[in-house]
Symmetry: D2
Amino acid sequence: MVVVLKPNVSIEKRNDLIRQIESMGVKVQITQGTETSILGLIGDTTNLNKYAIASNEIVANILRVQEPFKKANKMFKPDDTIIEVAGRKIGEGHFCVMTGPCSVESEDQIEGIAKAVKENGATFLRGGAYKPRSSPYAFQGLGLEGLEYLKHARERTGLPIVSEIMSVDMVDRFAEDVDIIQVGARNMQNFVLLKELGKIRKPILLKRGLAATIEEWLMSAEYILSEGNEQVILCERGIRTFETFTRNTLDISAIPAIKKLSHLPVIIDPSHATGKAWMVETMSKAAVVAGADGVIIEVHNDPSRALCDGQQSITPEQFQHLMIKLRKLIEIEGKRLER
Amino acid sequence: MVVVLKPNVSIEKRNDLIRQIESMGVKVQITQGTETSILGLIGDTTNLNKYAIASNEIVANILRVQEPFKKANKMFKPDDTIIEVAGRKIGEGHFCVMTGPCSVESEDQIEGIAKAVKENGATFLRGGAYKPRSSPYAFQGLGLEGLEYLKHARERTGLPIVSEIMSVDMVDRFAEDVDIIQVGARNMQNFVLLKELGKIRKPILLKRGLAATIEEWLMSAEYILSEGNEQVILCERGIRTFETFTRNTLDISAIPAIKKLSHLPVIIDPSHATGKAWMVETMSKAAVVAGADGVIIEVHNDPSRALCDGQQSITPEQFQHLMIKLRKLIEIEGKRLER
Amino acid sequence: MVVVLKPNVSIEKRNDLIRQIESMGVKVQITQGTETSILGLIGDTTNLNKYAIASNEIVANILRVQEPFKKANKMFKPDDTIIEVAGRKIGEGHFCVMTGPCSVESEDQIEGIAKAVKENGATFLRGGAYKPRSSPYAFQGLGLEGLEYLKHARERTGLPIVSEIMSVDMVDRFAEDVDIIQVGARNMQNFVLLKELGKIRKPILLKRGLAATIEEWLMSAEYILSEGNEQVILCERGIRTFETFTRNTLDISAIPAIKKLSHLPVIIDPSHATGKAWMVETMSKAAVVAGADGVIIEVHNDPSRALCDGQQSITPEQFQHLMIKLRKLIEIEGKRLER
Amino acid sequence: MVVVLKPNVSIEKRNDLIRQIESMGVKVQITQGTETSILGLIGDTTNLNKYAIASNEIVANILRVQEPFKKANKMFKPDDTIIEVAGRKIGEGHFCVMTGPCSVESEDQIEGIAKAVKENGATFLRGGAYKPRSSPYAFQGLGLEGLEYLKHARERTGLPIVSEIMSVDMVDRFAEDVDIIQVGARNMQNFVLLKELGKIRKPILLKRGLAATIEEWLMSAEYILSEGNEQVILCERGIRTFETFTRNTLDISAIPAIKKLSHLPVIIDPSHATGKAWMVETMSKAAVVAGADGVIIEVHNDPSRALCDGQQSITPEQFQHLMIKLRKLIEIEGKRLER
């Protein structure tokens, strides 16, 4: 950590500040510039109260030298994390395809979709039992009933299931029923929920918040990891920008960024990112060649009657077509499509 | 709601769509343009599944004509909501000042600050017992102990208390202990929490999410209102933009916007918005003349030793100076400073 | 165009408004809803003064039904535009690679790079003679001297040249010397410059502005097209968002968006978008499979001594490696790499 | 400037880098941390090629310690700049009000408005002769004819005039005809234009770009100042964010930010920022108490027939009402309303 001082501060005030910082357990080295001087802090600054330092009147700025995430950091764990779920691997050469409807609507619907996507190469079945909706008047999901339908569909097809959790009081239930527990973008900084999910031993699919930096996203993963659950899959699903043509802006460059900074697997959600069914195939292809470890795609048997997000769902036929394209690219990338 | 069709669609397909929409319980009127035609939907479109319509192949676009919020809407409740807490009013001519430290650190600290700010006109004492922090390694608040200290400070000074809730399982406790329950920016779309807060009868201070539009913010208020709790105070606390000089960008224009769209009171948090203690006074003044119903300001007796957010906290002396300026402006605005 | 009226307006005021709008040359059809009514405008609304309508006291909102661009619109010219420069084609199945240093630094430098990239498949040589820099104290380019060096490099290698124009008074010179004239992101809405470039018959490479929507970008293309120059190539180069890890956020979804909305070719600049040399290959690959018609990449023989943007330039060796990867993907996409 | 090295680099590579940096004319001091070491650069780093350093393989990051602007920097010129135009002062206690229509539409129109606003306290008459419009099909201004009408209005009322320049070839004409030359948001980084405006001796009103950081804005001012023209007035006019309720988001906190960083005067444009006539008064008031040196407001005698931006223009009557409010606040702020 580097502390930049204001110009022309007295030596007394500077020494006071140095004493204050050193009392926090780090060493300080001064670099005297022509106009300003800077203090280099040596030691473990993870727990340092940088706000306290920043509020000192002679401090102009504080510059961080190291990433604040530890357990998620590739520097401290260079080997990529591989997560194994019911015999399917995610990460480092293993590509996964999670598919299914935005929300579970009926037993028939989810089973029909599950069978259709399984035939075309889906690795996991996704489906919302609980749906976070911006309007209290919109369909909120079937709840526990939806969870049961998902389990039935798993029995019939053998596909492991992915579903979103919305609250701390559902952690035990989800840990028992679901194979991968999804944390939605709106809950990415629901720290109470993250801590509880850190205490269980199920893989967590952590979506990036709508306006979360890559660093904040990794810090949220750190909440889970620091409690002992090492199975975190990151999911980029579009960030909020000024552009309104797409629902959000899919940040494809987040894939190489995560690969550089962390050992955790990262997948892409082209459906929520673009909000347009006709963009899903194109953005899935981009994800594969950019190094993603998987995609999560909304598929609905009848998008025009979907209870949510119909305009971004593709049909099983479109999914079949998409998988033909993806398989080629997965092969070129030297990866294995998990089934 | 207006449905814009693609150019040159067949009459059959158009009639199919009209039948589909009318089966949802609204009437449809066609306007035939030179290149495209549009369908005007007549009736209550609140619960309409617009995604299902959007996914129809002949639909180019759907344009919404009315705001999706009902109970928060000024159109349906033109009189401003006034919230009364322990004899203090908030809204329509009553200006409130909520002050205190980012986090409760000790009994002495919170009592000392409480006394100091009370003397200078604070209406409420704010203080965090539970702190949402982006790092799991940062100070997370004293928890229940902090809540107890806040209650003691209330006893000694008579100031009602405002504190942030982070999870559904704390709702009963907060409803009993705290006078105004704060929902932080990161939980603005924690819908499970909002629904539970809708079931109690304590005022809720709902902060705007970092990247939430004004409409989404009002929809989150709608979650609380639609469950029966009509006491919602909105709080603008800065939005995330590309600018990095300030921590966030305080959207002062959100004040007149809310006043136009809703009957709910709205206050401003200049401390979190700017992240800079030296900007707090200026932005508080701007809030008053822009029509805010109050401000919430971080005050710490010793910012350089604060356990969080020291750089944005002002001292009791600076608060005293700020209140002199605010009083003049509150008077000019024809409002009453509640005490 | 749809005009949404406020609730409960008098019939007199509504009729006044209709008369006002019809006097502008369009017809109006009313759809009477339960709370609000809407006016559908029939006819050519391109030149309509929508601000005048919006300022009428009974108007709640104006919703546009059609895109405002005409000549750039795929609806009015369904066939993709192919641009031919010195025997190389750009667009519809023809993939181009524009490469070279951020700025021309010396005759040796530009010739050395030109030869190196030509061997590895570059279609065009790019290089800045005039450089827009945010600081007046930074290197501003060699100017006319740089242009001469570029021309010499063209003579030696046969590669056509692409260079950025910064001002109206250089249009004649650039039209004569350069094969493709680049308009930088900062000048995307320099309308005086765009109009002048519309009067010549050289291809224009129009970069997307840092905060320009896709629609604004196409409207800037429209400025050039509407003056008669039909040779416009669009270039996505990253948009400004809250994320700071990358220099900008490359909007890969802009490629399918442009392909849907317009017939113009679109290429990608991964160097400026990411600001990181190690991301260039990954993002170039994503661009190919997302449907881009080309890439523009910064290559420098010695990035650590580059006079600008060294950290985002790749070496000729890295370019060679990148092209091996791209060739495979271009082939899979069924496109032809122009040389 | 601080250069952060990657962990575990060899001493040889580090020494090579130090030699490279010192060859650029600065001294280097090493701070050896537990995991990484940092280099503090001592001396004038203004012209340093930081990109060249950043591209070195052992460099993790470069952190800037000082602001890159010099002549605009309050640190090097602590006294506020006061600009005097035709006897009116702008800056340090002198508040100016620039008013008039978005565009000059006829001689009668501009003279009528000029007289109306003069009576109510306008300091300057603003009006667009050349209009930058996102559509080539929209009204582009009367051009030279508009400039003549503005001059006539000046003669009749004595109000100095402010008008926007769009291109380098108009600099001489504007320098002769206009009292304050406005550079629009879209041209904030039209560096060729800025340099030319630096060579004349007329005050320049420099609008902040739609997505320009405060630092970039000051760097654009630096372009003008570094050429010798010291009369720059900054104008905040809203930045582009995700919020769509307002046209842009007015960044009121930019006022105290500029006052801290620079000696230049700063004014606010509430009309363009909000795009809503009914917000103009509120945001003007906020600007005054936040420390602005003036406002620039669109006034039109008949907004519903305005040729541009009617929905954000207020009438002369509304302007009169606004000025009553502003005068009180200007007085409280201890400033003088220039006339």
